[in-house]
Structures are given as C-alpha cells and as structure tokens.
C-alpha cells in the first residue's frame, strides 16, 4: 500500500494524524496556521507599538505645552522684574520725600529743644542769682 500511489492523495484527499480526512496537504496546512499565528503576533506588536508611540506623542505635546507656559511665565517674570525695579525706584523716591519731610520736622524740633534748653538755663541762672543775692 505504501508503494502504491495513494489514490486518495492523487485525488487530492489526505488524512491527517488523527486520520481525519483533509483536502489540504497537512504540511501546507501547518504552515498556513503558523503564518496565521505569526501574522497575529505581528498585528499585536504593531498595535502595541502604536499605543506606545501615541503615548509618547501625547507626553511630548504636554511637555511642549508646559514649556510654552513656563516660557511665558519667564517672560512675564522678567518684565515684572524690570517694572518692579522701576516701582521700587518710585517708592524709594516717595520714601525719600517722606524722609526729607521728617528730617525737616526733626530739625524744627531740634531748634525748639535748643530754645527751650536756653530758656531753662536762663531761668536756672536767674534762680541762682536770686538765691545768692538774698
């Protein structure tokens, strides 16, 4: 039987290991299924890759956005810094004016104090003189 040409196979029928009747050569069938498996693997991997790349893109986008805001912040801060310096200058000017005003007031008080001290010494002198003469 082995020698003889399998009439079944000639007719294109085959038996597999489980002695089931098949139309496809078992070898081919095996390869096909293998290919199918591989294809599936491939698709899986590709989709995984896409997911990863998508995540990456999102992340980069986010980063870009953040970078943008930071940049704006930095510009703002820089401007603010510039204006603060100006503000400080104005404030300083104001305080300076207030200080000079207070200084003038202090000077007035100093003169008043001096005048009063002089009056005091004059009065003391008078009292001393008065007591002495008596």
């Amino acid at each position: 039987m082995a020698m003889a040409k399998d009439p079944l196979s000639e007719a294109g029928f085959y038996f597999d290991e489980l002695n089931k009747l098949r139309v496809l050569e078992p070898e081919v069938s095996q390869k096909t299924s293998e290919l199918k498996e591989e294809c599936k693997d491939f698709v899986d991997k590709i989709s995984q890759f896409q997911k990863i790349v998508g995540g990456l893109i999102e992340l980069v986008d986010e980063l870009a956005k953040e970078a943008e805001t930071e940049k704006m912040k930095a510009i703002g801060a820089r401007n603010l810094l510039k204006s603060v310096a100006k503000q400080r200058e104005a404030q300083q000017q104001q305080l300076q004016a207030l200080i000079s005003e207070k200084k003038m007031q202090l000077e007035r008080y100093r003169i008043e104090y001096e005048a009063l001290s002089k009056v005091e010494s004059e009065q003391n002198e008078f009292i001393d003189q008065f007591i002495l003469q008596k």
């Binding site: 000017q93 004016a97 009056v119």
Partner: protein, 777 residues
C-alpha cells in the same frame, strides 16, 4: 498738624477726575471725563450719580455759586458753573439739570470763578481770553486777550482785581480800566494754578517747574518751595487763610501760610488736578488723575498755654496733657472740631454746631451752648470773655456762656476778619475797618456800642496789625498798631474830648504781642526781639522810652519770626522755617507793674535796688511820674542819672499850690496846653503867662496878659530882656504897639511877682484848710 487722607479701594470714576466742589461741609460733587457727576455724602459714606452728561461734554473746572449773597446766608449752594473742553460753560443746578449752556471761548474753557458775592463770573480760555459774565451768563466784557492760554484765574479779596497766568508770568489786572496792571515772572515753567486768599491777601502759584510759591499782593516773593519730583498741579488756600494745600503726582502737601510744610502725604492718586477746601476749613478733597477722589482732614493741631498742651488727635477728640504732672485728659465732642483757642485759663472749642468752654482747672465738665451759625472762623480770648467770629458777625460771650454783646458796623464782612484785624480786651473790642484800613473801629465790649464819641480811631497810614493791652483799668486802655511802613504806634483808646495822641514807639516792627499779665509789649523790631517794658512812658516822658526797652539779640532767630503769644515771662515765636522758639524775659518788669498799679512804691523801689537794672529804674521813673508819685520818681530818675529831671521834680515839689504843681507835671510830659488850661482854670493867670514866657511863646503870653489885663508890663520886660540878650531889635508890630503905652520897671515887676507868689500860697493854704474841714465834716 498733618493730613489724614482717605481713599476708596476702587475708583468710582472710570476716567480722570477733573474737578471737585463742596456744597456743605459734608457733601462734595465731582466731575470726571467719563461724563459723570457724582455726589459724595461723607456722613453716610455714600456716593451717588447726580447726572451723566452728554458724551460731548468733557468737564474741566467747577465752581459753586457763593453761599453768602448780600449779607444773607443761604443754607447751601444751589447752582454751579462747569466749564468744558468744547468752549462752553454750563450753569448746572444741584440736581444736575443743565440750566444754561453758553458758548464762551474757542478751544477749551480752562477756568471759571464766581466773585465773592456772586454778581460776576469770570472765565479763562485756551484762546488766551478772559471774559466777565453776569450772574445769569450774559457776556459783560472781554477783559483780556493774549497769545497764550490762561490756565488759571482768581479774584482779589474785594473782587476788584483779578489774577491770571500767562505762561511763566503772573498778572494782576484791576477791573477799573485806568488802573495799573502788575505783571511779573513768577516761575521757570508754565504756571498751572493760582489762588488768592481774601483773608490774608496772599497769592499762591504752582507750575511745571515743580515749585509752589507764596506772594503778597504787591508781587513780592514770600516763599518759594524746593522743586518737587513732578509738576505742581493744584494749589488751594483754606478759607481762613492760615494754611494751604498743594497737589502734585501722588502727592498732597499741607503748608503754613508762610510757606513751610506741615505735612506730606504720598497717596496713590495720580496727579491731583484740583483741591477744594470745605467752607469750615477742616477738610479738603482732591480730584485725582486715576479716577479717585481723595479726602483729607486736618488733625493734630496743637495749642499750648502755660503747662497745658492740647492736641486734636482725631476729628472729634482732643488730648489734654498737663506737662507738670503728665496727667492726660481726653475730650470728646459730638461734632467735628472747627476752631479752638486756649488762653487765660480757658479752652474754647467751636464744633460745627456747638461751643464748648473748659476751665483748665476742670476738664470734666465743660460748658456747652449751641451755635446759630455753623462755621466759626476766629476765636479771640481775653481774661473775662471771648469773641467768636463767624460769617455773619462778631459775638462776645462770657466764660459762663452768656452772650454779652454783638458789635455791628456798616460794611461789616466778618468772614474776612483775622487775628491781625481784631483785638479783644476786657472792656474793648477793636476792629480794623476793611473798607479803609487806616481806620480802627472801637467798641465797648459790654454793650457792643461804639466807644465814647463814636469817632473811630484814624491813623495816617494803612494799619496791618492791632493789639489791645490786657491789664489795668478800662480808662487807661491802650492799643498798639503796626502800620504799612512797619512803624509801631501806641495810643489811648478811651479819651475825653480831645483827639488822642498817636505816639510812635518803634520802627521796622513786624509782629507784636501784649503780655497777658502786665501791660508789657514785645515785638520783633528789625530782627531784634524787643520788649517795651512800659510803653505808656511816651505819654509822660518820651525821651525815656529807649531806656525802658529790653532788647535781645535777634541772631538766635532765623528769618522773619512771628510772635504767637506772650504769656508770663515767656514769648513764643514761630520762625520762618516753621520751628517754634521761646524767649524768656526777666520777671522784674511784670512785678514792677503790679507794684505800681497797687501803688506800693516802697516795694517797687526795693525791687529796683535789688535788680540793679537801668531799664527797670527807667520804668519806675515813668510809672511814678504817671501816678504823680514825686518822691519815688525823684529817686528813680536819680538812679538813671537824669539829673535835669530830678531838678525839675524838685521844682514841682516846691510849687506853692496844688494847681501849679499839677501844671508843672503836665509840662514835664510836654502837655503845654493842658498845663496852661489848668492854671487858667485855677485863676493863676500870672503862672500861665510865665509858662508861655519860659517857652518863648511870646505871642501867647502877651495875648493872655492883654486878655486878663494884667502883667502886660511883665511880658514886655521879659521880651526886652530876651531880645537884648540876643542883640536883636523888636520887629513884632503888637509888641511895639504895647511897648509904647507901658513903662517897664523891673523893681515894680519884681514886687508884683512877689505878691502873686504870696497870694497863691495863701490861697493854697486856705484851700487845704477848707478841704481838710470838708473832709472832717
């Protein structure tokens, strides 16, 4: 003194606030370039929209119609003028209705001002014109046309002159067409604002050179500030003329009328374009560039008297400090404090509705009475009573709160009176006449009637300062006056019959004050601090005046000091830079005054011997001479080496009769006519003739002799002797005529004189007997 400012968190206006104006002391209108007119009620702190103006009206200046019209006082202003950038001005009612719009200038109308009684309105435009309008807005005249815009304009005190800006120049233009125009360069930049106060007659200006300046009405510079950081955009006098406010970018300043600055505030306002004071002078409002309206009230005024220092800590609270024991009292008031005065042991506080009188011995129970009129502008005190001045009149109250009198006079404008123009003593009120400043009106304090003969005191020159002395009997009341030439005069207030002599006692005097306890006068005389220890000396012995002065070197004071008070032995002065200085004088003069007024001459002599002071001796000499206390006078004159006077006093003492010694005392003080009258009255004809002969008053001597038919030969004999001595011939017709019929015989004359003397002696002896008899009865 400082400003307490108050700003809302958010501005109420959306654009620049250009102008503000008060209606009452608690209500303000503000106009802004957002076309809104807002009303600010300070009692309820509410802000409400009065009206939204049409879109094409951009307001620039606002001025309320004056409240006092023809002496009648309206309760509040009803209409205001508002100028706008389209060349119109609008009369707008209180509720915001535009009553009238008048096409006034080409270009913006930059300023508009009513005169003091509201009879005329003046507008100034960008086109360089100034126009005068009637009350209802009819054009009267175009006063000025110049090439540059007029930024600001102000009326003079009597509304007869105007002040306006022309670039860097200030110009005063009288309304009378022929009168002289005054013009001067005032600033190094364009002048933005001017103001002219009607009480003190001073001018304020502020400009782009960042300075503000104070001028008098003659264009003399009194003060120039150091430059600010930004242009001065507004200046404004407080109504009483004691302080003024200055506005600039983020700046508000309160200054004394002499220019120095009390306080500086740096609020966040932008430029302050207009400042308006409320009528009582306690608060101000500013129109700010950032849409805000800033409010500020004046606090921390100080009053000092002896050991008490009083500070206005808040609008309604005062703190009293007794510096001798550091005791502190707090005084609370129902309303805002408007004016206060502390002197003679009493504190008088005027709030917007009431008057509080405190005794310094008791701060707990003040005497309170209601005030009819709201805004007291001046308080003057004397020992027994005080004077309140408000817009309507003068009122004298006792410290018990009783209304004593209310002097009235024609043409009275009480709202422009200041402390230089009014003086009060225990029995007299003196007021300088505003219409004619040479005239001083005198009133009896207790009745409010014009004094004695009703004739006011008239000086030959405009008077700038008056002061009544505070002590002694009312019959000897004296008034010191400083005139425009800065000469100091003194004269008696109450006099019978003849016009009082106005005697000059100083020159270059800038400020004077009487002492509160004795009639001692102090003043700044040509930069020296001078004390007239006994000013009345000029009425008895003029030449003694320089010897009675106590002079202190003025080098310790800086420029232009002003005397604030002279209490006890301490004079308080305010220097030009605003600092207070004190000067003490020896207490002897005051004590001497006390002795003399109580005629304790022995003690007075002892005091002078103790003090060993020439000026004190001179005072005593004058005092005792005034009191006809010859023994003391003789000693005092001897002590200062005035030997001729000692001699003369001896002669007076040796006079045979009372009348003739009285006549000689009058002669001593140079009152020849009075002396002669006294003698004639006593029937001592010969003595009267003799007086005239001694003074080489020949004509009068002859007249008397002829009139009374006696001693014609005596007069002729003396005349002949006199001519012979000088080797001259008789030329007088009358003497020649009488000489013909009269024989001159010296022996006869001598005999006659002897007889006269003995007659007088006899008479005097009889009189004394008679008087002693009558006393015994």
């Amino acid at each position: 003194m400082r400003l307490k400012t108050w700003l809302l968190k958010e501005p109420k206006h959306e654009d620049i606030v250009s102008c503000v104006g008060w209606t009452t002391a608690d209500e303000l209108y503000s106009c802004s370039e957002d076309h809104q007119i807002l009303k600010w009620n300070l009692l309820t702190s509410e802000t409400s929209l009065v009206v939204k103006l049409p879109e094409d009206i951009y307001p620039i200046d606002l001025h309320w119609f004056p409240k006092t019209v023809g002496g009648k006082k309206q309760t509040q202003a009803e209409v205001f003028v508002l100028t706008s950038s389209d060349g119109k001005f609008h009369l707008i009612s209180k509720v915001g209705r535009i009553e009238k719009s008048v096409e006034a200038h080409s270009g913006a109308v930059l300023a508009a001002r009513w005169n003091c009684d509201g009879t005329a309105l003046i507008t100034a435009g960008e086109d360089g014109q100034i126009k005068i309008w009637s009350k209802s807005g009819m054009l009267r005249s175009t006063l000025i046309s110049q090439g540059s815009p007029v930024y600001s304009v102000a009326w003079g005190p009597d509304s007869d002159r105007i002040l306006y800006t022309s670039g860097r120049q200030l110009i005063i233009k009288p309304l009378q067409p022929s009168a002289k125009v005054m013009q001067w360069k005032a600033h190094d930049g364009i002048i933005l604002k001017v103001d002219w106060n009607s009480v003190n007659d001073l001018i304020l200006s502020g400009g782009e050179d960042c300075k503000y300046k104070v001028w008098d009405s003659f264009g003399r510079l009194l003060y120039s500030s150091s430059p600010h950081d930004y242009p001065v955009t507004s200046v404004s006098w407080s109504p009483d003329g004691e302080v003024f406010a200055v506005g600039s970018f983020n700046t508000l300043r309160l200054c004394d009328k002499t220019g120095w600055s009390y306080a500086l505030e740096k609020p966040n306002t932008g430029s302050v374009f207009t400042i308006a004071w409320s009528a009582d002078g306690t608060q101000l409002a500013g129109a700010c560039g950032n849409g805000h309206v800033i409010f500020a009230h004046v606090v921390e005024q100080r009053w000092e008297w002896k050991n008490f220092v009083i500070t206005l800590t808040k609008r309604r609270t005062m703190q009293v400090r007794n510096v001798t024991n550091d005791a502190v009292d707090i005084l609370e008031f129902r309303d805002r404090v408007i004016k206060a005065s502390l002197a003679f042991g009493h504190l008088v506080v005027a709030t917007s509705l009431q008057c509080y009188v405190y005794n310094t011995k008791n701060w707990n129970t003040p005497l309170i009475f209601e005030l009819k009129e709201g805004t007291v502008s001046l308080i003057q005190q004397a020992e027994k009573h005080f004077l309140l001045v408000d817009g309507a009149g003068l009122y004298l109250f006792s410290y018990e709160g009783q209304l004593i009198s209310s002097p009235k006079f024609p043409g009275m404008r009480a709202d422009v009176l200041n402390s230089q123009g009014v003086s009060l003593s225990n029995d007299t009120i003196a007021v300088r006449d505003k219409r004619d400043e040479k005239v001083i009106l005198l009133f009896d304090a207790l009745t409010g009637k014009v004094l004695s003969d009703g004739k006011p005191l008239t000086h030959k020159m405009e008077v700038v300062d008056i002061a009544l002395d505070q002590c002694g009997p009312s019959t000897e009341r004296k008034i010191a006056l400083v005139d425009k030439n800065h000469d100091l005069y003194i004269t008696s207030v109450r006099h019978l019959g003849r016009e009082a002599k106005i005697c000059k006692i100083g020159s270059m005097v800038h400020s004077v004050a009487w002492n509160d306890a004795a009639n001692i006068l102090c003043g700044i005389q040509d930069n020296q601090f001078t004390v007239w220890c006994y000013p009345s000396v000029v009425f008895t012995d003029k030449e003694l005046l320089p010897k009675t002065l106590y002079i202190k070197d003025g080098s310790e004071f800086s420029r232009s000091p002003h005397i604030l008070s002279f209490v006890g032995t301490i004079a308080t002065l305010r220097q030009g830079d605003g600092s207070l200085v004190y000067s003490s004088i020896p207490p002897y003069a005051g004590v001497l005054h006390e002795y003399s007024s109580s005629t304790r001459w022995e003690e007075a002599l002892r005091l002078c011997r103790f003090a060993k002071d020439q000026s004190l001796w001179a005072c005593l000499a004058a005092m005792s001479m005034t009191h006809r206390e010859l023994t003391t006078a003789e000693m005092a004159y001897a002590a200062i080496g005035e030997l001729p006077r000692v001699q003369y006093i001896k002669i007076i003492k040796e006079q045979p009769s009372k009348e003739s010694s009285l006549a000689h005392m009058l002669l001593f003080s140079g009152q020849v006519q009075e002396a002669e009258a006294t003698l004639l009255q006593a029937g001592l004809i010969y003595r009267a003739i003799q007086v005239n002969i001694n003074l080489f008053n020949w004509e009068r001597a002859l007249d008397l002799a002829v009139k009374h038919k006696t001693h014609v030969d005596t007069v002729l004999a003396y005349r002949e002797k006199f001519l012979k001595k000088f080797g001259r011939k008789e030329t007088n017709q009358r003497f020649l005529q009488y000489a013909e019929g009269v024989e001159v015989d010296w022996t006869k004359i001598q005999a006659k004189l002897e007889m006269e003397m003995s007659k007088e002696r006899e008479k005097a002896a009889n009189a004394s007997v008679r008087s002693s008899v009558s006393v015994r009865r």
